[in-house]
Structure formats: C-alpha cells, structure tokens
C-alpha cells in the first residue's frame, strides 16, 4: 500500500495529527502500564467539595499515565480507570486496604489543628 494515499489537504493533516496524538497517548500508557497494574487510580468528586468540584462536566485527570476519568456531576458520578475497573470495584487492593463501614466512627482521621 502506498504510504501516501490521501490528498494533502488541511483536513487530512488535522486527521493525521489527531491519529498521532492518539498513538502517543497509547505509547505513554504502554510505557507506564506497570504503574496502572500496581496502583489503580479512580476518582470522584468529594462530598464536601468546593464549587469547582460539583456539577462539573466530564473531567479527565491523571498523572504519569494513570489516567482516571470522572464523568457526570457531583457525588453521583461514576468513575473509571484506564484498566477498565469502575468505582470501588476491581481495584488492586493492598493487604491493608480498609473497607467501608456503616458503624459510628470511633475516632476521626484528618488534619490536626493542634
């Protein structure tokens, strides 16, 4: 097949650049795949979030290839990672992973103001 089978128009140049960006993201993901396997990152808006956290549209965030996306708005948003796990399922848990509790907390862990 000829390497050049499309006319050199501005539209086709844009399409080529788009494909290149996709391939580059794929290469970055492949290079950092170990990160994703070890530590799946999922995200969601904080229940007590500031104004920018609630009601936002689709948001993409990530670091070092562990990209996580959160679509929708507020606390009802669903979360997914680029490994296909969603929400709080399918994660690579550690031996000391906590679990959700319905009990009244005995103590609270947070910042200590003194």
């Amino acid at each position: 097949m000829s390497p050049i089978d499309q006319p050199n128009t501005p539209e086709n140049r844009d399409k080529a650049r788009s494909r290149l960006r996709t391939l580059t993201r794929g290469a970055i993901f492949a290079a950092t795949g170990a990160t994703v396997v070890i530590g799946v990152v999922v995200s969601r808006d904080h229940p007590g979030a500031g104004s920018t956290g609630k009601g936002a549209g689709a948001t993409t965030s990530g670091s070092s290839g562990s990209v996580s996306t959160s679509a929708g708005s507020g606390s009802s948003s669903s979360s997914s990672s680029n490994t296909g796990s969603t929400g709080n399922t399918g994660n690579t848990g550690s031996s000391s992973s906590p679990s959700i509790s319905q009990s009244t907390p005995t103590v609270t862990s947070g910042g200590s103001s003194g």
Partner: protein
C-alpha cells in the same frame, strides 16, 4: 469518657486528653481496662516528648542540636525515632526529611501551635533547601547520632506515628485485648479488633464530629494516617502557611492535595505515604505506585482519588 451504645455496635470505652501538642485518644473494648490504657498512653507520650520534642529545652533532641558536629549518645527511644525518620526520608526520596527543623522554625513554627497562633504574623524570612537527611549519621553500635553544625531536626511527621504504634502495642499487650490509639488523627490499632473492625471517620479535620465525616472506613490491623494542608496553619506576613515543608525549598508546600489518608501495616507506614504525597503534589499518583498501601487523596478542587484499593462510596 464515651461509650457507643448502638445495640448493633460493640461497646467501646474511650479516653482522650491533650499531649504532645495534639489530642491523644485511646479506645479499648473492655471498659474496665480504659483507665489503665490511658495511663499507659500518657506515659508513652511523656517519654516521647522528653526524647523528641524540639520545643522542650530539656529534650534529648536539644542535646543533639547543642552538640551538632559531634557524635552524641542518645536513648533508645530517640535513636529509634531517628532511625524511622531517616528510613522514611530514604524511602520517599527525601520528601519526608527530618532536617527541616530550621526551615519550619523560619516559617514561624518554633513553639506549640497555640503560641504561634497567639502571636502577630511574623515577617517572612529567607528560605532555602534543607541540609538533607543523608548528612545525619546514626551508629547503632554506639547508639550515637551526629548532625552537621547548624542543622536542626524536626521528627514530628514520623515520631507521632511511631508513638501511636508503640503505645497501642504496649496497651494491647498490657490489657490483653484490642486497642486503638489516635494522636491527632494518626491511628494505630493492635490486638483483636471489634466485630467489623475499628471504624475510623475520614475528614479534613480530626476534630470533625462523627456524624459529619466524609467517609467511615474500617481497619482490622496496622494503622491509618491523614495529612492535611488546611489545618495546623498560620500566617507569615500576609500569606498562610502550614506545617508540611518541602525540603527542596524550605517553604510550606503549595496545597495541591488538601487531605491525604492512607492505611499501612503500621501508623508509621501510613504516615510516610500521606506526608510524602502532600510534598509530591501532582506527582503523587505516579509515585504511590511504588508503595503497597491504600490511599485516598482529596485534590484542591474537591475531587477524590483512590489508589491501591481505598474504597470509594458506592455510586447512587
């Protein structure tokens, strides 16, 4: 002091008091053991304060400062705290560095936080990179430490977590039952847990009432710690700073994460990750891949990130 009375929950006995500049809490399953547990915790914290405080003139740490440049024999407790601090520094690539003593004092945190808050805002001082943990020399054979001249240490980050770990082990062994110790929200548990585990609330401030926390999680063993940038803060000139220092700049870390919580096989393990994550900022998600711990991070815009299996609330 407080007993949980819900018939579906275990009855726990809680004792709280002020120590080492924070709120110390011990929780046990046997109410008859609560007084004994409180005494053991108080004794452990007094020993830590005498060994590690940078505010007490009579602490062993001040002897090390006064003899900077020379090897100083120290007690087992301070030596252990130093060893843990240097280990944390090495494992985090220097993000959690005990040689920030001068830097945090230059930011104005040179006394108990109550005193710092009571003073008018201090003028800003020149800041710079800290000396670095690699210049602290420990000799386990002689139990001596040598720091460079002019360097001061701050063991606050890891020493508090170590105190929680040591205290809860001592208490659980002493009373022959399960126990939880919280030092300003840095939590360690030991012994048999209650049914369903130890329930710990997660919130930006450890003083948040139980009914107002963001999330409640249960741990069965080890520890759970949180680090935050919105509390333990004060004014320098016209800007607000907080207690977590970036060793590369000597300045208070720009708050990319407002709250980071983590579990670990101990409170120290959890604390190392939470403090380092605050310092790493945006790079934390990638760096945490090297740690086998569950972490919950709340970004400045309120978005919550879960790493290594920290559970998010089910979506509705």
């Amino acid at each position: 002091m407080t007993c949980t009375t819900d018939t579906h929950e275990p009855v726990l006995a809680t004792r709280s008091f002020r120590a080492i500049g924070t709120t110390a809490t011990v929780v046990v399953q046997d109410p008859a053991a609560a007084d004994s547990a409180e005494r053991m915790l108080a004794a452990e914290l007094e020993a830590f304060d005498l060994a590690c405080s940078r505010f007490r003139e009579d602490s062993q740490l001040q002897v090390v400062h006064a003899n900077a440049g020379s090897s100083v024999e120290v007690g087992e407790l301070l030596f252990e705290a130093l060893r843990v601090a240097l280990d944390a520094a090495e494992r985090t690539g220097g993000a959690v560095d005990p040689t920030i003593g001068n830097a945090i004092a230059a930011l104005g945190y040179d006394a108990d936080l109550g005193e710092v808050h009571a003073r008018p805002p201090a003028p800003p001082q020149a800041l710079g990179a800290v000396a670095g943990y690699m210049h602290v020399q420990l000799n386990p054979r002689t139990r001596t430490v040598r720091i460079p001249r002019g360097v001061r240490l701050d063991l606050g980050s890891t020493a508090k977590a170590l105190a929680a770990d040591r205290a809860v082990t001592r208490i659980a062994d002493g009373i022959g039952g399960g126990a939880l110790v919280s030092l300003g929200g840095d939590v360690a548990v030991a012994g048999p847990p209650p049914t369903g585990g130890w329930a710990v609330g997660i919130a930006r401030e450890s003083s948040t009432p139980a009914g107002m926390v963001d999330q409640v999680v249960a741990i069965m063993h080890g520890g759970l710690a949180s680090s935050a940038t919105a509390v333990r803060a004060w004014k320098v000139g016209d800007r607000q700073v907080h207690h977590i220092v970036d060793p590369r700049t000597g300045d208070s870390v720009a708050p990319y994460w407002v709250l980071v919580s983590a579990t670990g096989t101990s409170c120290v393990e959890a604390n190392i990750v939470t403090t380092a994550s605050i310092v790493w900022g945006e790079q934390a998600l990638g760096r945490l891949a090297g740690f086998d711990q569950s972490v919950r991070l709340v970004r400045f815009d309120g978005k919550v990130f879960s790493v290594n299996g920290w559970p998010l609330e089910p979506t509705t």
